[in-house]
Amino acid sequence: MIGEVGTLLIGLALITSGYAVLAALLGIIRKDRRWTQSAKNATYSLPMLLGIAVILLSIAFLTNHFEFSYIARNSSRDLPIYLKFSAVWAGQEGSLLLWSFLQALFTALAIRRPSKLTAQLLPWAAVFMNSITAFFVAVTLLLSNPFETLPLPPADGLGLNPLLRHPGMIFHPPAMYVGYVGLAVPFASALAALVTGNLKHWTAAIRSWTLVAWIGLGLGLLLGMRWAYDVLGWGGYWGWDPVENAGLMPWLTTTAFLHGAIMQDEQRGFQIGNFLLIIFSYALVLFGTFATRSGAIQSVHAYAESDIGIYFMVAIVVVLVGSLALLVWRRARLKTTLVQGGLLSRSGMFFLTLVLLSTLTFSVFVGSVLPTLTDLLTRQKFEAGPAWFDRVTGPQFAALVLIMGICPILGRSAQALSQLKKWRWLAVGGAASAVILAAAAGFTQGTALLGFAVVGLASATALGAYGKGLAARHRHTGRSLLHTVRELVQQQPRRYGGYLVHIGIIFMAVGIIGTRLYPFEEELTLTVGKPEDIRGYTLLLEGLKQNSENNTISTWANIAAYKDTQYLVTLTPATNRYMNFEQAVGVPALKPGIREDLYLILAGWSRDGRQATVKVMINPLANFLWLGGLLFLAGGVLAVWPKHTQVGRKESAAPENQQIKVWRDINLILTVSLFIGAGWTMWGMPHGTIKYAQGRPLPGQSAPAFQLTLLDGTQVSLPDQSPQATVVSFWAPWCASCEEGLSFLQSTWGAYQDHDIAFIGIAHQSDRASVENAVSRYGVTYPVGIDTEGSLAKAYGITGVPEIFILDAEGEIAYLHIGLPEAETFIKELDTLIGEPIP
């Protein structure tokens, strides 16, 4: 029944959206309010119909309706609830349905409360938005209906693609969709402005929608980057994958549009540019969809190859040809892009920003399309790898940051040059101090220093310019600095939000310089109990573990990491093998730090579990990227924050104002907690790590001192009168391999008793009776005591039994063994310490 009702709902949505387009057109042509109202009602009913369809699909997922082919391919009974829910958008059919729903919802929201500015655009904007809805609903219904049933329903589904089994699946795709779909509103409004000839105010009318879409895209990209970094196990966050690029390009053009819109609002031209940017933004959204769904472009994101690509190709052509034709038709009434006051002025800098963002987009586009295109045309594949992209886009991004640094000091006056002179020492100082700081921290590559100089300049001028305004106002009002900040931000959330975005970008630039120019990657084979040094870290493999459940075999290595002999954390890189998919997915372990992240990937292991090969990556300054990302999002949120001009003035004047205030506070609390949550997931939550109170002392370090009461009541203490060798062995009567160890140690003790050597057995987590029982059973004669409070185990950082530490005459650790040592090795080590080989 779910399937039939679901299909019916989508079918009705298709008819309704078609009707909405026609009715809106009739309303415009006949100037009949009834038709317009009917179109409005149709538009409002669309999100209802599609929303119920989405809910039905979710219910079908949660209740394991495997008779639907889509659910059988993307879910299984053992899938956790949150993944079942997010599997709704895991494949093409469901994601198109969600897309259609969001498109309908945004359309309804956009036409619900028209402001004075949007009212004139609305009827036409509704026509265009509903046409887009109709297109997506038609593709969903006719080409990829998620409610399509299988003739023979399977007992269990195939399960979700292993790469998608991650909490990131809940947030990353919907955020991207909000961005993609949100761009339809400004695009439709731009077309409406062209048709109706209201060419002046459309940018202001749709600013909030553009910002929402832009934040959605930015958030989606950031989440995707972080997801890739946390799980995908290649140590990076951005691989210039065609689908990543498909998300980045509309973000770049929308960023350019937001800047162009400011210029248009200040009446400095830019009109044609703005139209072009918003048209291309939406065309790029469609291109992204085409790229993911056509199978034409190779990518980790690519959905199974399907035949809907061609329809999106047609849509792109229609969008481009149609909108550009409208633009040409209206060309006479559009102001050309003017750069008043030369390049070295505010509008000049904005113009350069637009140009750079456009060339960046074009570069990314060329890099994404060229491999496929050259393959088609010449049968020779042109590879645009990450290095190509870094080389081409790096300088352009740097130039953008530089402009960001120059722009705030130019101000809006005509005397840009004199302004520049006034600020030059600050700019130079900022650049110089950033270079010195970076060089002192060890980043001495020429390109990196150049990058840091730009970053330093931009941050100095930004802080200088904002600080100056703040200080002046603070002086004049005499209020506290904090109050002044709040006042400024409240009065001009857009401007200060924009500044915060810029600061976030500067932070991100630092992270990008560090991670892109100083990548460190090396494969290392570790043996249990043998510490290995790598780039200032010491890694000690404790052992390999394996676990199997739900058709998945997880294998992970426990690796204690030390920095400068200080225990940091125990990292647990893992590999999950999904039997249903015959696919192995690496789950890296990550220890974040301010200067650099230590990042381990489990690459392989030996059959006996004594050796593991790990890929060690050290990513310098990676956290600046994430911190910058959060600042950048906070700035975006600030910029769309509802302005409360009236409420602030007349505090608590009317009950409605009170209510607005309450809502505002709830909003604020929600947003702040969201950001705290994001921060916690990045830095608070362990990413494949276990933190023990203490690590093991490494060879060369002095052994922790202790006093132990032996079974016979006497005391033994360490450091003792320092025999040539001391064997400290942790064991337990409940552990199978320890029994073997007891007899082995006892026989060694028997052979070495006469030498200057001491043995201490420490029973871990055991009661006296069973210890005494084991000691008498194996005839142990060396001193044995019980670690009743577990303090010794903690001091020696053991993670299991048996573990054996061998100390030299200085009381330093000479050797350590996790698990039982081989007899030969053990005896050789003792002999080395006492300095005389036993015949």
Partner: protein
Amino acid sequence: MSLGTILIGIAILLMLVAYITQPFHEIGTRQEDTIEVWVKQMREEGQNTTHPTPSSDIKVTCPNCGEPIQKGHHFCPQCGAPLSEGPIP
């Protein structure tokens, strides 16, 4: 297809058609829809509430940096220079 499915389908269809065609089958002229009533309402609203000045349209520029500023500011938000008009608290 079960009877229940068909009934649900018909119910959805009826509600949808009724809602969309609602503007056409309003019997007579509903009072609040006639243009006269709209105009009257708007007039009343205009009397009761003070018109907020479209502040974004009236722009002053800062004598120091040339930044366009909304009226009512005592200091330039860009450079912080005090603006002569209006008393400084």
